[in-house]
Symmetry: C2
Subunit: 379 residues, 2 copies
């Protein structure tokens, strides 16, 4: 199974509506592919907060409204911040019965019309165990950061480095939310506390945006990227139901499944997109994916190995931190970046000759975890 | 592919929370099947308004919280009122890679904590074309009813008969929302206008409830029911984008696909569950499914053919009108009823020896349409 087309909008605070964002990404993905839109057999829509923020559910039908007379099966999938990776997996299942399937993820987070974004995003946490006790997302990840920093004896400067690296990468990505923002270590250090020990620059932004991919059963051209594996598993929603705060079990299981299915191991991964909704998440991701030992991620960061010219470039698009985090589109945007890199089309941020890339996309506080492994056709 | 277990809660205004409802239905479905829960390879959750009403999204992870340590892939699917039929289809796709898959649909519509139900339900309609112009659901279906009644020259008494039949069926269904309510034609006629020509008794209620099914690749016992076909397609959301108000094109396409896949035709259908969110919808359903000619549904009703002892019993559980309409569970509750009937386990409401049953489940105003055809193992 192959990714035969990709498309995405710029991320940021944008004028477009939710359907307009979805349309733009779908259009770009179709144009990028060699597939005619009339050959698309099914569509999967990923979105998290269309209801609470935009007053728009039933987005599968809204996408049908954009494609008059097409009348194909369209479904909406929602699994919080991992929505689009899980939609991708359903699309891969459906590819058993169709030659081409389209997946689109979209989110409109600024100019929300119904509820405020903090209240809306909190809906990814357990209503009774978390939300009603004030455990909004920065607070949950702050608990994780406190534990992690104490357990492995690292300081906030590691998190600052992650923010800096991601913002520097975003400067080379014209579609990134913070492409135009020149962020310095001084700005990061001086940013206000959100939920101690996390500061403003430890948090990903509220972004509008959309991304889409065309999936094809058979290769459609030399720019196609092969899907070696796409796996997701779930875990309890609330940290109160977890054995560990410094590792996400669902990520470890999904990674193990993806490595097994792909026949690849951590050493085969040439670059990765990981779910840095908060800077601390990037450390957990590198460890849970087996890309380093537990507690070893800070060293990976400190030695510059995750830089574009390191041996394991991470979040070359700027990550959720600086590329942006339009939730329903995020997993597909991560895939977009890996595909661009594997095709060798990343321009000034191109990594040297990657063959295999990994995508790590998490919902909530590790309640959903998806891991995808892609291989370029150059190798 | 087979339905090897079914479960559901009572429908109505219930004390349980959304997760409690889901748990109860899943438990009953597992107990009803010969499948051990540890053999379930994946779960699909259907829910429409968890965000806007209950402040709870990421329900796939909430279901994982109910099953500690299970860590299987769980996805949430939302396509308005057709959510659970579309979730069923995704589960059937996934059955290619698992021996057993569970589907659960749940909705908690009373005691909503975030937004009011009318505002929340309207999110299934197009925000810009419908919602902001006041086209809430009763108003949309009232437009359809006006057109239909004028085009085919029928009066409101046909709709009253549909309400009466469904309420009488619910009297024989102990799990129905209005099981205990003795509804007379007089009550139906005297009920207040909601949106002319629709009165209170033309509308389905706000219900809490959940339903679940276990799907198995191979038959697990003599009570299993075979899935001959499950199809869904989409159409534009708003009536402003439709050529006809008296027919849903998506239903016609889905029915055609389901007949073709199953090898069955309208004459083979022994009983049907149709999506009577409003009484007028039942007339459209019978016609769009090809069970009678366009404009012929009133005759089908008038001649008593859709009664339990007629030649095409419809909504033997009471339908959405009287069994209830906990939106994310509705499609699975329709399947529950057809399975119970095909097994011959419907007790006082049992239809004589049915072999093939049809389920019709619609999202929005026909923006999503799902048609499922089941066959009993008795035949």
């Amino acid at each position: 199974m192959y990714i035969s087309g990709i498309g995405r909008t710029k991320f940021g605070s944008l004028p477009q509506t939710l359907p307009e964002l979805a349309y733009e990404a779908m259009y770009e993905a179709i144009v990028d592919s060699n597939v005619d839109i009339t050959d698309i057999g099914a569509i999967f829509v990923s979105n998290f907060l269309g209801g609470p923020l935009n007053g728009q559910l039933h987005l599968n039908s809204i996408v049908a409204s954009l494609l008059p007379g097409m009348n194909v099966p369209i479904a909406r999938v929602e699994t919080a911040c991992a929505s689009s990776s899980v939609a991708l997996k359903q699309a891969l299942y459906a590819l058993g019965q169709h030659d081409h399937v389209l997946v689109v993820g979209a989110e409109k987070m600024t100019a929300g019309t119904v509820l405020g974004p903090t209240e809306a995003i909190a809906m990814a946490a357990d209503r009774h165990a978390d939300q009603l006790n004030g455990l909004i997302f920065p607070a949950n990840y702050a608990l994780i950061a406190q534990q992690y920093m104490q357990k492995y004896r690292i300081g906030h400067e590691v998190l600052e480095q992650i923010a800096l690296i991601n913002h520097r990468n975003a400067r080379l990505n014209p579609l990134a939310h913070f492409h135009d923002k020149d962020v310095t270590l001084e700005m990061i250090r001086r940013s206000p506390v959100i939920s101690s020990p996390l500061n403003l620059f430890d948090c990903s932004p509220l972004s509008d945006g959309a991304a889409a991919v065309v999936l094809s059963k058979e290769p459609q051209g030399s720019r196609d990227v092969k899907i070696l594996s796409s796996q997701y598993v779930t875990d309890a929603t609330s940290l109160t139901q977890r054995a560990s705060l410094t590792s996400f079990n669902a990520v470890k299981i999904a990674a193990r499944m993806a490595y097994a299915e792909s026949g690849k191991g951590p050493d085969d991964i040439d670059l990765a997109e990981v779910h840095d909704c908060f800077t601390i998440s990037e450390l957990l991701a590198l460890e849970d994916l087996g890309l380093c030992e537990p507690g070893g991620a800070a060293k990976l960061v400190g030695e510059g190995r995750i830089l574009r010219d390191g041996d394991l470039p991470v979040n070359t698009d700027g990550g959720l931190k600086a590329d942006g985090h339009p939730i329903g589109a995020t997993g597909l945007a991560q895939i977009f970046e890996i595909v661009v890199q594997l095709r060798g089309e990343a321009g000034p941020r191109q990594v040297a000759g990657p063959n295999v890339g990994m995508i790590h996309n998490v919902g909530g506080i590790g309640g959903t975890a998806a891991v995808t492994i892609l291989e370029g056709s150059q190798c």
